[in-house]
């Protein structure tokens, strides 16, 4: 009787385990099936590097280069803003802050993760967008820069908490060794702590990027959604994610437009997958 019970529980757990893999495979296959159909209409090269995205004109022009560049510009901007602030914050929390401030900061950063992205987008829309418009004297504040700043806020918690973990797990003896040689606190951080934690910090950055590139709602609200190749960081852009979210509702099922949106999904999937794998590699190198 007990053996039977064991057996049943084992099988149930097995099914749970398999289910997660099963769903992932199913989703992936569906994505491939729907997405790859677009390549009957346009060549993969033209799809990836085509300069215009007019999915409902006749005949449709399905080039996603403007969208890819839009995503790239917003992401790179967000990364440039969030890495120095995020890593700096992590160093402060791990090394410098007194215990009380440390606790407060950590809680604050966790709270930052808890803000829904649509709320962040909304706040960005009413504060950041008019500000950008007034500072740079441009016709609209809905720009790649606004999106980058907003996304930097969303990437920060990930970067800070993982980088702080990495710094914290550097053996204390490393730091003491450097200090005993007469290093100043900053010299010990810069030359010993940071290099020793580098793989963890890189993983933190990669995961932050992953979060940014997959983000949809906030960017859709504040980047202006113009599917043209951006001329500068102060121009409106449209990202891959925003395109899918904005157009999927209107696309006729089975149309070229519909397939093209799924193909964008594949591109996004490949990018996120690559980023996650890289982050994983760095994390495992640490252990």
């Amino acid at each position: 009787m007990r053996k039977l019970k064991e057996l049943i529980i084992e099988k149930v757990i097995l099914i749970c385990g398999l289910a997660s893999i099963f769903f992932v495979v199913l989703i992936f296959l569906f994505l491939l099936k729907e997405g790859l159909a677009v390549f009957k209409i346009v060549s993969p090269f033209k799809f990836l590097f085509g300069k215009s995205w007019y999915p409902i004109s006749e005949p449709p022009q399905l080039g996603i280069l403007p969208l890819v560049l839009g995503s790239l510009l917003v992401t790179v901007g967000a990364v440039i803003i969030s890495i120095p602030i995020g890593v700096g914050c992590a160093i402060y929390i791990a090394e410098i802050a007194p215990l009380k401030i440390k606790e407060a900061l950590k809680t604050g950063i966790e709270l930052l993760t808890a803000i829904p992205s649509v709320v962040l987008g909304f706040i960005g829309m009413v504060t950041l967008v008019p500000l950008a418009k007034n500072i740079f004297h441009i016709p609209t504040g809905l720009t790649a820069l606004s999106g980058s700043i907003m996304l930097a806020f969303m990437a920060m918690p990930t970067i800070v908490s993982i980088a702080e973990d990495a710094l914290y797990s550097v053996p204390k003896t490393y730091k003491e060794g450097a200090l005993a040689l007469g290093a100043t606190h900053w010299q010990a951080i810069w030359r010993v702590m940071l290099p020793a934690a580098s793989s963890g910090i890189l993983a933190a950055v990669m995961l932050g990027i992953g979060r940014v590139i997959g983000e949809t709602m906030a960017v859709m609200m504040i980047t202006g959604n113009a599917a043209v190749i951006p001329s500068s960081i102060l121009a409106p852009v449209r990202t891959l994610t925003a395109t899918i979210a904005a157009e999927m509702g209107e696309a006729v099922v089975g149309s070229e437009h519909y397939f093209a949106l799924f193909a964008i999904g594949i591109v996004l999937f490949v990018i996120s997958f690559a980023i996650n794998v890289t982050a994983d590699l760095f994390l495992h190198k640490r252990q």
Binding site: E176, A180, G182, A183, P195
Partner: protein, 249 residues
């Protein structure tokens, strides 16, 4: 006898724990002062006081005075103090750099020197630590490729490279095999001609082998401090006798 370190009525607390009680010691120049005692006797705390590493701990409090050549160490710039008072830790702790860069690390940090002088300093330091012959052909290899004993001597060389006056050894042989231990001990004995050495050790026999004088700590108190020969043949205190004979600790 020149007194290098003069410690008077030193008390140290970590939070509510009274780690050192009314300790007074004079460390003489060019001697090896061994410090023995069971765990939690305060010997490492005493050592870490001399280069102010205790300051890193939260809730650290002290009173009394610690003077390096008549000057209170709290009035000396911390980085300068740690340059003058080098430290070798229990576990060999090479930095993730090449052998050469490990030794040059501290020198580069304090002031920039040209390549030739730097090379000379590295060579001289490695020779002093009795490591040069073993590594001279592979200075650019990673320091992690060295054996444990070699790594420990590398750490000694690294400390020597910044030209300290005093070297603190914190159980430097606890992770080493007997042969490596013997090499490190040889290095220490030669080094005392130029440097003053304070050695904390869990190995009573090591104290007997290399120490000129030996101090016995118990529960944060200095029980006895005397010439090593005398201490190991005719200790004054019964507790010292018991510890040396291995009756407790």
């Amino acid at each position: 006898m020149v007194i290098k370190f003069n410690i008077e009525n030193l008390n140290i607390w970590f939070g509510s724990i009274h780690a050192l009680k009314q300790v007074s010691v004079g460390v003489q120049a060019n001697e090896i002062l061994s410090i023995i005692g069971p765990s939690n006797s305060g010997k490492t705390t005493f050592l870490r006081m001399l280069n102010r590493l205790n300051d890193l701990s939260q809730n650290f409090k002290m009173n009394g005075s610690v003077k390096l050549e008549q000057e209170d160490i709290r009035n000396i710039d911390t980085e300068l103090l740690r340059k003058k008072v080098g430290m070798v830790f229990a576990l060999p702790l090479p930095l993730p750099l090449s052998i050469f860069d490990n030794v040059a690390y501290g020198v580069r940090m304090h002031d920039r020197k040209n390549k030739k002088i730097l090379g000379e300093i590295v060579e001289a330091s490695l020779k002093e630590a009795y490591l040069w012959e073993e590594v001279k052909d592979r200075l650019n290899e990673s320091a992690f490729k060295l054996s444990g004993g070699q790594q420990q001597r590398l750490c000694i060389a690294r400390t020597l490279a910044i030209e300290p006056e005093v070297i603190l050894f914190d159980e430097p042989c606890s992770g080493l095999d007997p042969i490596s231990t013997a090499k490190v001990e040889d290095a220490m004995v030669k080094l005392k001609q130029k440097y003053t050495i304070v050695l904390v050790t869990n190995n009573v026999k090591q104290a007997a082998r290399v120490g000129d004088r030996t101090a016995f700590f118990l529960n944060g108190e200095l029980i006895e401090l005397d010439k090593t020969d005398k201490m190991f043949t005719a200790p004054l205190d019964k507790r010292t006798d018991g510890y040396i004979r291995g009756k407790f600790g």
